[in-house]
Amino acid sequence: MLEVRGVAKNFAGFQALGGVSLTVSRRSISSIIGPNGAGKTTLFNVITGHLRPDAGQIIFKDRDVTGIAPHDLCRLGMGRSFQRTNIFPRLTVFQNVQAAFVSHRGRGFNLVAPVERLYREETEELLEAVGLSRQAGEVSGFLSHGGQKQLELGIALALEPEILLLDEPTAGMSAAETRDSIALIERLASDRHLTLLFTEHDMEVVFSIAQRITVLHQGRVIAEGTPEDVRRDGEVRRVYLGEKHR
């Protein structure tokens, strides 16, 4: 489904990624973990076309997509959510998701039709699925942090992605919000036959839902495998888990 081959990226002499490779198979749930500054977000930005890698390739659905623009990747079926909440703050919750439908289904250059009438049912159905039906008419910038994260998920799902990349989906959430949010993501992934790739700092979350885990450290992959493999890996314990449990 998605393959990252030897991706490297430097920022003004600082090596953010030093030849990272990983493979995500269709309908799997994979996670990338690593301490702060390990290069998780940079890797995400390279995969989703926001950054061009200095070396290496991104293969998505058997196609080389290295360096192509985000809006084209989006059409190919790659959806993403961002670490910093990333919505359209002065539009209503409904309009946020509706805009994603309009754009994705190629109606964005229509200059004459009234936009309110487009994709109403689809939008309502999706808001129901992410649990935001009651807030549909609210200005999205006023939603709670958890609500905005749900909305981001809604926007991403409106694009009918085959793979969904989530950058720290539970960042800044309380324990209860995290639990709900993970349950929601898991349910949506299985209902919609999605492939998931996410980064996360909360180990409990990672080990509870990920099937494959890749551990990044200083821009390199130091371990890769099932949660059990990773838990037992000596180097991982030393550089990452060890830091927390010491």
């Binding site: 989006c74 359209f88 309009v102």
Partner: protein
């Protein structure tokens, strides 16, 4: 408001007709800028370029080539839009202040060309005595119908301006309420996110820039005739700042905001200059007040007041 405007010549003086015509044309000009500033989040410092191009297009076609208004008017929009497409191609590659500076640079180039190209634009002297469209046929019709006819050419032109400005405003209103307009709003709100719902941000920005150019050009085409002449300062940066101030004053991102801004600024200008010569001082003070007290402009303040009244009614 548009309906009321039709009665100005019958009820008011020639001066009021003149003022109303000025407001109508500037309202269209400012609304076209609002498509960029208010809806797409692109601040252009050079919008007068397209106004000027439109004015010269209609002026040259009608005065020097004797082309009828029916063709010369749409030509203003087409040429202004075409040049906006060319300049915009470069501008949308830059962001924020760099975008604004490049729009200003292109506008100054347009101004310099109008100022120096004597053979075509009349250079520094401009091009006086642009003819009115031919209204003689109306008097022919008036012989058969009551209540029509009997107006001066300037008044007929005022009615014509109202109809054309009305049509343009209606089109702009459709555009901002269309899926295209919504995509522009997503760019304004969050361009990075817009990319990732599949919006080709630069392409949409360019389309908005060209469309804004078309409507600014149409406003310019009317203004040249209204003003009885076209001059290089139509494309000068002070015109760009004037239209930007109107948009801010009325409330950007609110559809009728720039119309309110145009009305307020033009009426104030005429009132105040009859008392004092320090118009710019007053204008500066108004702007400061606006930025600190009503950051949403007059339109924003009215909308907020309206919402507050509504909730009060609901609670009562």
């Amino acid at each position: 408001m548009l309906a009321a405007a039709f009665f100005v010549p019958a009820l008011g003086s020639r001066f009021y007709t003149f003022l109303a015509n000025d407001v109508a044309i500037w309202a269209l000009f400012a609304t076209s800028l609002n498509l960029l500033v208010g809806y797409t989040g692109l601040v252009s410092f050079g919008h007068a370029a397209y106004f000027g191009i439109g004015a010269y297009t209609t002026g040259i076609l009608m005065k020097q080539l004797g082309v009828p208004f029916l063709l010369a008017f749409p030509a203003a929009g087409l040429l202004a839009g075409a040049l906006a497409l060319v300049f915009g191609f470069f501008c949308v590659r830059l962001t924020r202040i760099y975008f604004a500076m490049l729009t200003l640079a292109f506008a100054q180039i347009v101004w310099a060309i109008c100022f120096k190209w004597n053979e075509v634009t009349g250079g520094e002297q401009g091009m006086p005595e642009i003819p009115y469209p031919n209204f003689e046929w109306i008097d022919g019709v008036a012989a058969w119908l009551p209540f029509v006819g009997g107006y001066r050419a300037s008044e007929y032109f005022y009615f014509l301006s109202l109809v054309l400005v009305g049509l343009c405003m209606w089109s702009l209103h459709r555009i901002v309420r269309s899926p295209f307009g919504r995509m522009l709003e997503t760019i304004r709100e969050n361009a990075e996110r817009a990319e990732f719902i599949g919006v080709n941000v630069r392409l949409w920005e360019l389309a908005a820039f060209a469309l804004a150019g078309v409507f600014a050009g149409l406003a310019g085409g009317l203004f040249g005739i209204f003003n009885r002449g076209v001059f290089p300062d139509f494309a000068y940066w002070t015109k760009s700042s004037e239209v930007l101030i109107m948009t801010l004053l009325g409330g950007m991102g609110i559809f009728y905001g720039p119309t309110i801004g145009a009305l307020a600024l033009i009426v104030l200008n005429h009132q105040i200059t009859s008392y004092t010569e320090y118009w710019s001082l007053i204008l500066g003070s108004i702007l400061i007040l606006l930025l600190f007290v009503f950051p949403g402009g007059i339109g924003g303040a009215v909308a907020a007041l309206w919402r507050r009244l509504q909730t009060r009614v609901h609670h009562a």
